[in-house]
Symmetry: C2
Subunit: 420 residues, 2 copies
């Protein structure tokens, strides 16, 4: 029989006892930030569980890793700590276990209705890297900007391309995104355009949250890379296409990206995703040995993007994609990132790049969906080439199990006007 | 008469009482990290001065900003705190002031011979950005890679181009640099090259250390940008040209840079550099209004790069350049960085890009000095196209005042072999 919690969980919930994703929250405004785990419509306060002495396994017994305003310390402890925490929490929440179930005063202290708490960035992010691992996205962007002959650069099939992103402007789901101002291509002999971005876009991504990491100069083997990944979040890499197009030669994206990046509050662990692992696409040519893994795995995670224009009652689904479409795996990304000796630290974030699938309706950004504005999308009566002020973008991600989901909740943000 | 300290300072020292650069040090291995100021051959321990109650001005009186393992808290306090600290320290160290001069036990606690202490990274670096602000460097690189017609991209004269760098691998002067491994361009139908970089290079740079910074969504005005810059350090942006050349299309440099970046330990403040301010080069075309400043200023800072091959007794000077050659000013870099709303935080690092001057001997990297390996440099009998294992690179920077220097000391690092 399936594992079940004494807390009632709807069958369509993203957060049954099989999931147990980690976040950081404040029970009320002004309260102290602390780690928590989602269970149904509740958040389990891990600092309360730790203070009650219920993390009693050998790794966590005397640790203060859950009495912290971020998950970084716990992430740095690695897989033995993660396994033990998951086992302890799953047991505590299970239907047959009286410890928490029958202790009213502890339940009072440790369980908060999710709709009452404030979710925060769960990690302190030292460095944020964004990859470019969907072949469909690379092909579409290349076709739009350079034409249909050789749209994908020669290096793309040999290495997981990436750039360093801006860590300071990563925000938690629900934070408004201020439309950036910046320069765009000049027309004729005029000076460059300057003003609010005219081509504001979302990018449907997921991101890996790094665990222990590695010392400078010591690469991580691709077959051991999974031990350095704690879990995944949903990510929206907001992009100003006009700013990006003008600035990116020769050093890559900068201000076209750095005004804001949104992540979802719940980190779903690789342990919870394990039942949804699937084979990654076949790679041709075969990558160099440092990128060749014994087993190349993706996860079957359904992803959706909705746009909700201001004043409209309903949102429109504009993208249905899946994590399994990624060409380069998370473990290949991580091995490549460290092959030159670059050090990763607990809490670092590795974005996958826009996750586009093969079908037109699975394109992960408006640049692709509207073919750079040439084919406007229709949304419940209005149309969109790019995002307008007031538009809210809602990303969801979910794995469908047998009678239960392992979901990510949502990653949302609303565009507000540029400063005058 | 010139300001003078009771501590004897050689006339060729970089650290007279006119300078007073900030760093973080441990008096002995295993000791606690704390902020200090360089004076001649000594380090003044600011935690000892603070604990003695000698920061008694209105801003710093009750602050613990000097009882910290980094300068970030002090940086975040802004110019009023910086001015007050400088005035207090300059007075305490001055020839006529008995407070410290005549207090033997305080001197014992607060002054350490510089050659006995261990210098550390002075700041926790949230984000590191590298600009591309030398026209000579942009022109040389463009000519080498794309030929002499239009070597500088069209956007270059309209905006200070930059990319996000890797913060985790920034190390303090004196740290060995492990030769990175990585992929290089395939030849013919072979797979890409994989192995230790064959084109390892230095880049002569300086970097601005950010003070208070700005809120997400609130750009900094170019005419107020100087208040957000605490001071400058020397920087060596080590670069693997073969890795960089193969990976950088279309998202910019990544593993070709992220294996290590070295900074000098002493942050020289803008206040100390003020006497060496000079006009920046005339800009044509005139930049957009958000980049147009009332006064466009550089600093006259002489820069040198020496290479010391392993086993050779003497180093050879390979570059003599100057900070004043930069086309885009620090304040323009900062205003551009924030114009899209991107937030800067205390301790963020903004590299200038390679500082090449107009003459061939002022080229700031081997790529330019040897014209991508085509014209080897001669060094005391040996030659170099790119760096070899055992080579030590030593960057120095110094402003020449009337009878005194305001210097940066050195920024050095030695290449050690790649892992097997
Ligand atoms: Ca992206
Ligand atoms: Ca550089
Ligand atoms: Mg972004
Ligand atoms: Mg570097
Ligand atoms: Ni001396």
């Amino acid at each position: 029989m399936a594992l079940k919690s004494f807390i009632q969980v709807h069958s369509d919930s993203h957060f049954p006892i099989q999931n147990l994703p980690y976040g950081v929250f404040k029970p009320q405004p002004g309260g102290e930030a602390r780690p928590g785990v989602a269970i149904g419509d509740f958040v389990l306060d891990l600092s309360a569980i730790a203070n009650a002495g219920l993390f009693d396994g050998p790794v966590l017994k005397n640790s203060d890793c859950f009495v912290q305003p971020s998950l970084n310390k716990f992430l740095g402890m690695g897989r033995p700590a993660w396994k033990e925490a998951r086992a302890t929490i799953q047991k505590l929440l299970s239907f047959d276990e009286p410890t928490l179930r029958d202790n009213g005063s502890l339940r009072e202290k440790a369980l908060f209705p999710m709709n009452k708490v404030q979710m925060l960035l769960p990690i302190v992010i030292g460095d944020y890297t964004d990859f470019f691992s969907s072949m469909h996205h690379a092909k579409n962007c290349g076709t739009i900007f350079r034409g249909p002959e050789n749209p994908i650069p020669a290096n793309w099939f040999h290495l997981p391309i990436a750039y360093h992103g801006r860590a300071s402007s990563i925000v938690i789901s629900g934070t408004d995104i201020i439309r950036p101002r910046g320069q765009g291509h000049p027309t004729g002999n005029s000076p460059p355009y300057f003003g609010p971005s005219l081509k504001l876009d979302f990018e449907l991504e997921m991101a890996a949250v790094i665990g222990p990491g590695n010392e400078l100069g010591k690469p991580v083997d691709v077959n051991e890379a999974a031990d350095h990944i704690f879990g995944l979040v949903l990510m929206n890499d907001w992009s100003a296409r006009d700013i990006q197009a003008w600035e990116y030669v020769p050093l890559g994206p900068f201000l076209g990206k750095s005004f804001g990046t949104t992540i979802s509050p719940w980190i779903v662990t690789l342990d919870a995703l394990e039942p949804f692992a699937c084979d990654a696409p076949k790679q041709e040519p075969i990558p160099l040995p440092y990128l060749t893994e014994k087993k190349s795995r993706n996860y079957d995670i359904s992803l959706e993007v909705e746009i909700k224009p201001t004043g409209q009652e309903h949102s429109s689904v504009v993208t249905r994609s899946n994590f399994k479409h990624l060409y380069w795996t998370l473990t290949q990304q991580l091995a490549h990132h460290t092959i030159n000796g670059c050090n990763l630290r607990p809490g670092d974030l590795l974005g996958t790049g826009t996750i586009s699938g093969p079908e037109p309706e699975s394109h992960g950004c408006l640049l692709e969906l509207t073919w750079n504005g040439q084919r406007p999308l229709s949304l419940n009566g209005s149309t969109r080439k790019f995002l307008e002020d007031g538009d809210e973008i809602i990303i969801t991600g979910c794995c469908k199990g047998n009678g239960y989901n392992v979901g990510f909740g949502t990653c949302s943000g609303k565009i507000v006007p540029a400063p005058l």
